[in-house]
C-alpha cells in the first residue's frame, strides 16, 4: 500500500494505491493549519477503517507540506542569529539595494529574518582567490557564542564572503560555536546549505533554512510519532521543491528544500501519468481558484531553476520551473480606470466566491462566465454539493457588459478570453521564450478549472493535444506518492572551457561524486536504483547569466569540451537569438542531480463497464455566437476506448471537461481523456 498526502491551505488530500490494480482511494478533508498532522492522521484513520486496511502494510507514506512556507509568511519561525565578517552585518538588509517595484514608493521588501542586534561581526575576510585578507578571530566567535547562549537563539548561521569556494573559515567558526552552544542550538554555514556564489542569495537561503529548522523539525517529529502510533512502520518521505522526495532526516536538516514543494508534487504527478500513457513532452496547466501554475517537461524531464522567491526572500534551491499567474476560477472581472476589461489577479476565493455561489459575492468571476455560457453546470457543482444560482451570474455579467458597451455574451466570452490570455502568457514565457515550440507538446491540465480552459489555451498556442487525468483535483497527493528520492549538489567552478582549466572541472566532479555516493549510502539507495544527471552552467566571459546544459560527465576531455562548446552556442542562439562562436566560454558551476528510484505501484486501469449515455443535453455557448445543445457525461461512467465527439461536456466531482465542436476526445486505459484539438486559431 502506497500513500501520498498533500496538505494545502484549505484541504488535505490523501491518495492511496493498494498496488493490486484496484482503483485509487481518494480522500479530501479540511486542513488543520495549526497542527497539520491532525488532519493527516484523521484522514488516514478514516481510510484504514472504511476499507478495512492494515497500517503495517503501508510501504511508503509520501508527504508534501506547506508548514515551512506558512511559517515564513506568518513569521512564526525560529530565533536566528548570524555571524559574519566585519563590515557586512547589514548585507542581509541591503539585499540588492533595490525597491520591489520602480513606480511604487510604498512597497518595501520584508524585514530580514535575523534582527540587526543578532547579526554579529567578527574579524575575518578571504578574497575571491582564497587569499586570507583578515584572519578569522576565533576569540570573537567565542564571544558571539556567549551572547547567543544568553539570547537563547534556536539557530546560528555563519555567513562569510567567498565561502562557496573556500568554506574552511565558515566551518571553523561553526565548530567553535557548536562547542560553546547548547546541543539544542543548531549551527550551520551558508556554504553547507547551498554553496553557490552571489553572497546575498546564499546568505538569504541559509537564513531561511535556519529559520525553519525548529518549526519544521518539531512538526516532523509530531507527525512521525502520530503515524507510528497508528501502526505505520515505514518511513515518511517528504516532497521537495525539485519534485523529488527526501528522508525525514534530510528534511529536518534542510527544511528550506521543502518550501516550494506543493506545485512541484503536482508536476511530478502529471509526469508520472503522462509517461504511463506514453507521452513524454508536456506542458502542465494547473488552474485553481486563484492562480494558474504552468511548467514544461521535455523528454520526461521537468525544467529546473535555482532562483526563486519565498515570501519576498530570495531562495536558491533546485526547484521545478513552475510559473504562477493570477488567473483562476475565482478571478474577478473588473473595468480598469482606462475602461479596459481586466480579469484577476484578485480572486473571490472560496468565500464569498463567485456570484453564483450566492454567498455574498457581487463581482463577476471567471466561474460566473462559465456558468452563464453553459460550460459549467448551472444548477450545482461538486457533484451536487455546491448549489449554483445561474441567474445571479447572468445579472452580474449583464451589468459589466452594460458598462463595457458590449452584449452579455460578449462580456462573458471576453472574461474567459482574458483569463486564458494570462495563462497563455505564462506558458509562452516557459516555452516560446525559451526556444520551445508549444506545438511539440501536449497540454496536461489539472486543478479544478484546468480542463474548462484547456481548449482555449491550447488553440491559442497551437498545442494539438490535451490530456485530462482521471482525478485532476488530487494530482499533488498522487505525485508525491510516485516521485523518486532526489538531491542536487552544486559546485561553483568559474573556469574557462579549455583544456588548460579542465582540471578545475575534474576536481569539482570528484568532490561531487563523493558527496553523491555518501548520499546514496545514507539514504540506502541500492546500486540498481541509482541514477545521476550532470549539468554545467555556462556563459560567454563577461556575461552574468548562465545557461544550464546537460552533460555526459564520463566523456573524454576532448569530447566534453567540444560537446559543451557546441551545445552552449546552440542554446545561446535558441534562447537569445544569437551566438558568438569566436567568444570564449566560461563554466560557472557544475551540478549533479542524484536520483534514487523507489518501488512504484502501477497506476490502476479503468474497469470494463458498458458505454454510458449522456445524463442531459445542455444549451452551451462556444463563442459569443456559437450555440449548441451539448451532451453532458459523468466522468466515472466513461470507459476505456470510448470516443467523445465535440461538442461534449464531462462532469466529475473535482472538474468539468469541455470538448469543443470539431474536437475529439478519447478515453485511454488509465482513464485519461485525450482531446485532439482540431480547429485552428480563428
Amino acid at each position: 500500500m502506497y500513500i501520498g498526502v498533500d496538505v494545502g491551505g484549505t484541504f488535505t488530500d490523501i491518495a492511496v494505491n493498494l498496488g493490486d490494480g484496484s482503483n485509487l482511494i481518494l480522500h479530501k478533508l479540511p486542513s488543520t493549519p495549526d497542527a497539520p498532522e491532525l488532519a493527516i492522521i484523521e484522514g488516514l484513520e478514516n481510510i484504514l477503517k472504511a476499507h478495512s486496511l492494515n497500517a503495517a502494510e503501508i510501504v511508503r507514506l509520501a508527504h508534501g507540506t506547506t508548514v515551512g512556507t506558512n511559517a515564513i509568511i506568518q513569521r512564526k519561525c525560529g530565533k536566528v542569529a548570524l555571524v559574519t565578517s566585519v563590515g557586512f552585518r547589514d548585507l542581509l538588509e541591503l539585499a540588492r539595494q533595490t525597491r520591489p517595484t520602480v513606480y511604487d514608493m510604498h512597497s518595501d521588501h520584508p524585514e530580514p529574518l535575523v534582527s540587526r542586534d543578532l547579526r554579529v561581526e567578527v574579524p575575518q575576510r578571504r578574497l575571491a582567490d582564497g587569499t586570507e585578507h583578515v584572519p578569522l578571530d576565533e576569540s570573537a566567535v567565542a564571544r558571539a557564542a556567549k551572547r547567543f547562549a544568553n539570547e537563547k537563539v534556536d539557530c546560528v548561521v555563519v555567513c562569510f564572503l567567498h565561502s562557496y569556494a573556500f568554506p574552511d573559515d565558515e566551518n571553523r567558526a561553526a565548530e567553535i560555536l557548536r562547542k560553546l552552544l547548547p546541543d539544542a542550538t543548531t549551527v550551520l554555514t551558508s556554504s553547507s546549505v547551498y554553496p553557490e556564489f552571489r553572497e546575498y542569495e546564499r546568505f538569504s537561503t541559509a537564513v531561511l533554512n535556519a529559520a525553519l529548522i525548529t518549526v519544521v523539525g518539531s512538526y516532523l517529529d509530531r507527525l512521525s510519532h502520530s503515524t507510528a502510533d497508528l501502526g505505520i512502520s515505514s518511513e515518511i518521505k517528504i516532497s521537495q521543491s525539485s519534485g523529488g522526495l527526501m528522508s525525514v532526516r534530510m528534511a529536518k536538516e534542510f527544511p528550506v528544500r521543502a518550501s516550494l514543494s506543493g506545485p512541484a508534487a503536482g508536476v511530478q504527478g502529471a509526469l508520472h501519468r503522462a509517461l504511463t500513457a506514453g507521452v513524454e513532452n508536456i506542458i502542465t496547466l494547473d488552474v485553481g481558484g486563484t492562480s494558474a501554475d504552468v511548467a514544461l517537461l521535455e523528454h520526461g524531464m521537468p525544467k529546473e531553476v535555482s532562483a526563486r522567491d519565498l515570501a519576498g526572500y530570495p531562495v536558491r534551491i533546485p526547484s521545478l520551473d513552475v510559473n504562477a499567474v493570477g488567473a483562476g476560477g475565482g478571478s474577478i472581472a473588473w473595468i480598469d480606470r482606462d475602461g479596459l476589461l481586466k480579469v484577476g489577479p484578485h480572486s473571490a476565493g472560496a468565500v464569498p466566491g463567485p456570484v453564483c455561489y450566492n454567498l455574498g459575492g457581487t463581482e463577476a468571476t471567471v466561474t460566473d462566465a462559465n456558468v452563464m455560457l453553459g460550460r459549467l453546470n448551472g444548477k450545482a457543482l461538486l457533484s451536487g454539493r455546491m448549489p449554483i444560482n445561474r441567474d445571479l451570474s447572468v445579472e452580474a455579467i449583464t451589468e459589466l457588459a452594460r458598462n463595457l458597451g458590449v452584449t452579455p455574451e460578449e462580456a462573458a466570452f471576453g472574461i474567459i478570453q482574458i483569463a486564458c490570455a494570462t495563462m497563455v502568457k505564462a506558458i509562452r514565457s516557459i516555452s516560446v521564450e525559451r526556444g520551445y515550440a508549444p506545438s511539440d507538446f501536449s497540454l496536461f491540465v489539472y486543478g479544478g478549472a484546468g480542463a474548462l480552459h484547456a481548449v482555449d489555451v491550447a488553440r491559442e498556442l497551437g498545442i494539438p493535444r490535451i490530456i485530462v487525468p482521471p482525478s485532476p483535483g488530487i494530482l499533488c497527493a498522487e505525485g508525491a506518492m510516485n516521485a523518486p528520492l532526489s538531491i542536487e549538489f552544486v559546485s561553483t567552478i568559474l573556469c574557462a572551457l579549455s583544456a588548460d582549466e579542465i582540471a578545475t572541472f575534474h576536481k569539482a566532479r570528484t568532490e561531487l561524486e563523493t558527496r553523491v555516493q555518501n548520499w546514496f549510502s545514507s539514504e540506502q539507495v541500492p546500486q540498481s536504483q541509482q541514477r545521476t544527471v550532470w549539468s554545467v552552467g555556462a556563459r560567454y566571459f563577461g556575461q552574468n547569466y548562465e545557461l544550464t546544459l546537460p552533460i555526459d560527465a564520463s566523456a573524454s576531455d576532448r569530447h566534453l569540451l567540444s560537446d559543451i562548446e557546441v551545445a552552449f552556442h546552440r542554446a545561446h542562439e535558441k534562447n537569445y537569438g544569437f551566438s558568438a562562436e569566436s567568444e570564449p566560454i566560461q563554466l560557472v558551476n557544475l551540478s549533479v542531480k542524484a536520483l534514487g528510484e523507489l518501488e512504484r505501484p502501477d497506476l490502476p486501469l479503468l474497469p470494463k463497464t458498458p458505454v454510458p449515455e449522456p445524463i442531459e443535453l445542455r444549451d452551451t455557448l462556444f463563442s459569443s455566437i456559437e450555440r449548441h445543445s451539448t451532451p453532458v457525461y459523468l466522468r466515472e461512467t466513461l470507459v476505456a476506448g470510448q470516443e467523445l465527439v465535440g461538442p461534449a461536456i464531462v462532469e466529475q466531482l473535482d472538474t468539468t471537461v469541455i470538448i469543443f465542436p470539431g474536437d475529439k476526445g478519447a478515453i485511454d486505459d488509465w482513464g485519461n481523456i485525450t482531446i485532439n484539438v482540431e480547429r485552428s486559431i480563428q
Binding site: 547589514d90 514608493m105 563577461g542 534562447n575 544569437f578
Partner: protein
C-alpha cells in the same frame, strides 16, 4: 470601427508580452554591468506614427527617451524613406532626443505587405561610449563632445544588410570594444525577436486592426491619466530646491517649479530655474519629461501602463538653456543627479495636495563610483557602480534603509562577482547609523561602501549629490544627514574629496569610502512612539545621543529607565 475594451485588452496583453520577452533577452545576453545586473535598459513597441504603444518594465529615465526616438527617425527619413529590414541607431540628447550618450537606442520598423505598421525599439546603457573618460560618465567635462561619441539617428541595417562600416567606426571609438560588440549584438537580437513576434501578431490581427488597437491602447492611457489628474484638487503648487554643485564652478543651483492643476490637465512650469551649468549634470527635455511623468505615475497611478497617452494632458515648460532643459552643447552624462532633484521639487510641491501619497526627500542622488586601472595581471578594466541611500519617510511608516530611490532602481553587483571580475576589494558595505531624519516616521539610513584596489593603484571618479544640502523632511519631520567621498589611508588619515571628484589615484594602502545621504523624516518627532524608538536603539541604527537630541520622549523614557522608575 473602434476596438472593444475586450479586444484592446487582449492586444495590449500580447504586445506587453513581446516587450517583456525583448527585455529579458537583452538583459540575459548582454555584457555591460549596467544592463545585465542593473537593468539599465528598456524595450518598447511603437505604432506607425512613432507613438509608444507599450513599454516594458523600464528605467524611469528611459520613459521619455523612448518617446522621442522614433519621432526623430520619422522626421529625418519620413515614412517613405524607411525600408523593410532597416534598423536605426542613435544616442544623442540633442539631435536624437536621448538623455545622455551612454544610452544607445536601436529602432526597427516593422512592415506588412510593404506597409509600415509598427516599430520595435530598445535602449541600453553601455559601459562605455568613448570620450575623455573611461565609462563616459565622469565629471569635469564641459561640453557634450568630450563625453563620448555622438550618434545621430543613422542606419545600422539597410534593408536587412548590416552596415559593418558603421559598427567598425563605433567600436574604434569605445573602450573594451570586444565587450561592447556583445551589447550591440544583444540589442539587435532583442529587436529581431520583437520583429518576429510582431510579424506573427500582425498576421493574426491584420494591420488595420493593429492600428485601431494601438489607437485604443494609447487612448485608454490618456483617459486614465486625465481621470487621475481630475482627482487632484485644482490649484497652483510651488516648490524649490537646489543641486549641490556642478563639479566645477557653480554651487547650490536652484530648481523652481510651479504646477498648475486645472480640471483634467496639469502644467509644470520651471521658470526661475537657474541656467545650465558647465558641469555634466544638465538635463535635456527628454530627461525633464521623464522626471515629471515619473512623479505623476507614482503619485496618481502606479499601475498605469506607460505609453504616449501619458503625455496627452501634460504640459511641460522650462526655459531653454536652464539646467532642466539644457541647450546644445551642454554636457549631460550625469543627468540622473538633477533628475532626482526635479522629482524632489515636484513631490515637494504636490505634498499639500497629496499628503498621504508623497514621501519626504530621499537620498536624492544617483551616487556613482567609477574605477579605471590596470590590474596586476596587466588587464585594463573600467568599472562603474551606483549606490542607493535612505528613502524618505511616509505618512504612515518609516522610510526604507539603503535603497535606490525614484529615477533609479539599479541593483548592486554581488561583492563575490565584483571581486572575481575586478582587482578591487569591498571592505565595508553597511548602513550609516543616525543618518535618517527624525520624525513621527523616520527617514531611511544611507549606505557606506569602502573599496580598496589590490596590487595596483586605481583611478577613481565619482558623482555625489545631497553631499551638502540635506534631504528635507515633511510636515515637521527632520532632515537626513548628507553623504561624502573620502580617502582613508591605512595610517588613519581621512581626506574628504570633492562631491564630483575626477580621476583620483587610490593606492592599495588606502580605501575610498563612499557614504550616501539618508532620507528625511515625516511628521513631528515628538509623536514617534516609544516602541519605535526602542527598536531604533536596539537595532543599533540610531545612537542614544541621536535619540536624546531629537526626541524629548526618549529623554524622559531613558531617564526613567536609568533610575529604574
Amino acid at each position: 470601427m473602434t476596438m472593444s475594451p475586450i479586444e484592446a485588452e487582449l492586444l495590449r496583453n500580447s504586445l506587453a508580452s513581446i516587450c517583456d520577452e525583448m527585455y529579458i533577452a537583452l538583459m540575459k545576453s548582454s555584457y555591460s554591468t549596467n544592463i545585465k545586473e542593473r537593468k539599465d535598459h528598456s524595450t518598447a513597441l511603437f505604432d506607425a506614427d512613432g507613438r509608444v504603444v507599450v513599454q516594458g518594465e523600464s528605467m524611469p529615465l528611459h520613459l521619455a527617451s523612448m518617446l522621442g526616438l522614433v519621432e526623430v527617425v520619422l522626421e529625418k527619413y519620413g515614412k517613405e524613406g524607411l525600408k523593410e529590414g532597416d534598423m536605426f541607431l542613435s544616442n544623442d540628447p540633442y539631435v536624437g532626443r536621448g538623455s545622455h550618450l551612454p544610452d544607445v537606442a536601436i529602432a526597427a520598423p516593422i512592415f506588412k505587405d510593404g506597409e509600415l505598421v509598427m516599430f520595435a525599439c530598445n535602449i541600453a546603457h553601455h559601459a562605455d561610449i568613448g570620450g575623455m573618460s573611461p565609462g563616459s560618465m565622469a565629471g569635469g567635462m564641459t561640453e557634450i563632445f568630450q563625453e563620448g561619441l555622438r550618434i545621430p539617428p543613422i542606419r545600422l541595417f539597410d534593408a536587412g544588410e548590416f552596415k559593418r562600416d558603421v559598427m567598425d567606426l563605433i567600436l574604434l571609438n569605445v573602450r573594451v570594444p570586444e565587450e561592447r560588440i556583445g551589447d550591440y549584438n544583444a540589442q539587435i537580437a532583442s529587436n529581431k525577436l520583437g520583429l518576429r513576434r510582431c510579424d506573427a501578431l500582425i498576421e493574426r490581427w491584420g494591420k488595420d486592426r493593429i492600428a485601431e488597437g494601438c489607437d485604443a491602447i494609447i487612448g485608454a492611457v490618456a483617459k486614465r491619466t486625465r481621470a487621475a489628474i481630475s482627482d487632484l484638487e485644482d490649484g497652483v503648487y510651488t516648490f524649490e530646491d537646489v543641486v549641490d554643485d556642478d563639479g566645477l564652478s557653480r554651487k547650490n543651483i536652484k530648481i523652481c517649479v510651479k504646477i498648475t492643476v486645472a480640471g483634467d490637465k496639469i502644467e509644470f512650469n520651471f521658470d526661475g530655474t537657474e541656467p545650465q551649468v558647465e558641469g555634466n549634470n544638465n538635463v535635456t527635455m527628454a530627461g525633464l519629461q521623464a522626471s515629471c511623468l515619473y512623479c505623476l505615475k507614482v503619485l496618481l497611478d502606479p499601475d498605469c501602463p506607460q505609453n504616449h497617452g501619458m503625455l496627452d494632458p501634460v504640459t511641460i515648460n522650462a526655459p531653454l538653456g536652464s539646467i532642466v532643459n539644457a541647450a546644445f552643447p551642454a554636457a549631460s552624462a550625469a543627468r540622473a543627479q538633477t533628475g532626482q532633484r526635479i522629482v524632489d521639487v515636484v513631490l515637494g510641491a504636490l505634498a499639500p495636495a497629496y499628503p498621504d501619497k508623497v514621501v519626504a526627500a530621499g537620498n536624492g542622488a544617483n551616487t556613482s563610483a567609477a574605477f579605471f586601472g590596470q590590474g596586476a595581471n596587466g588587464k585594463f578594466y573600467v568599472y562603474l557602480e551606483t549606490l542607493g541611500g535612505g528613502a524618505g519617510a511616509r505618512s504612515y511608516k518609516d522610510g526604507s534603509d539603503g535603497v535606490q530611490v525614484h529615477m533609479t532602481n539599479t541593483s548592486n553587483l554581488p561583492i563575490e562577482a565584483l571581486e572575481t571580475e575586478y582587482p578591487l576589494i569591498i571592505e565595508r558595505y553597511e548602513l550609516v547609523e543616525d543618518s535618517g531624519g527624525a520624525g513621527k516616521h523616520r527617514g531611511g539610513l544611507g549606505i557606506r561602501r569602502d573599496y580598496r584596489p589590490i596590487g595596483h593603484s586605481t583611478t577613481f571618479s565619482g558623482q555625489g549629490e545631497r553631499f551638502v544640502n540635506q534631504p528635507w523632511g515633511l510636515f515637521g519631520g527632520g532632515p537626513a544627514s548628507t553623504g561624502r567621498f573620502a580617502i582613508i589611508d591605512d595610517n588613519g588619515t581621512t581626506t574628504r574629496l570633492a562631491n564630483k571628484p575626477s580621476t583620483h589615484k587610490i593606492s592599495p594602502e588606502a580605501v575610498i569610502s563612499v557614504i550616501t545621504a539618508g532620507g528625511g523624516g515625516f511628521g513631528v518627532p515628538g509623536e514617534r512612539s516609544i516602541s519605535d524608538l526602542e527598536r531604533d536603539h536596539e537595532s543599533g541604527k540610531f545612537s542614544d545621543e541621536f535619540l536624546t537630541e531629537h526626541y524629548k520622549q526618549w529623554r524622559n523614557y531613558s531617564a526613567h529607565a536609568k533610575t529604574g522608575t
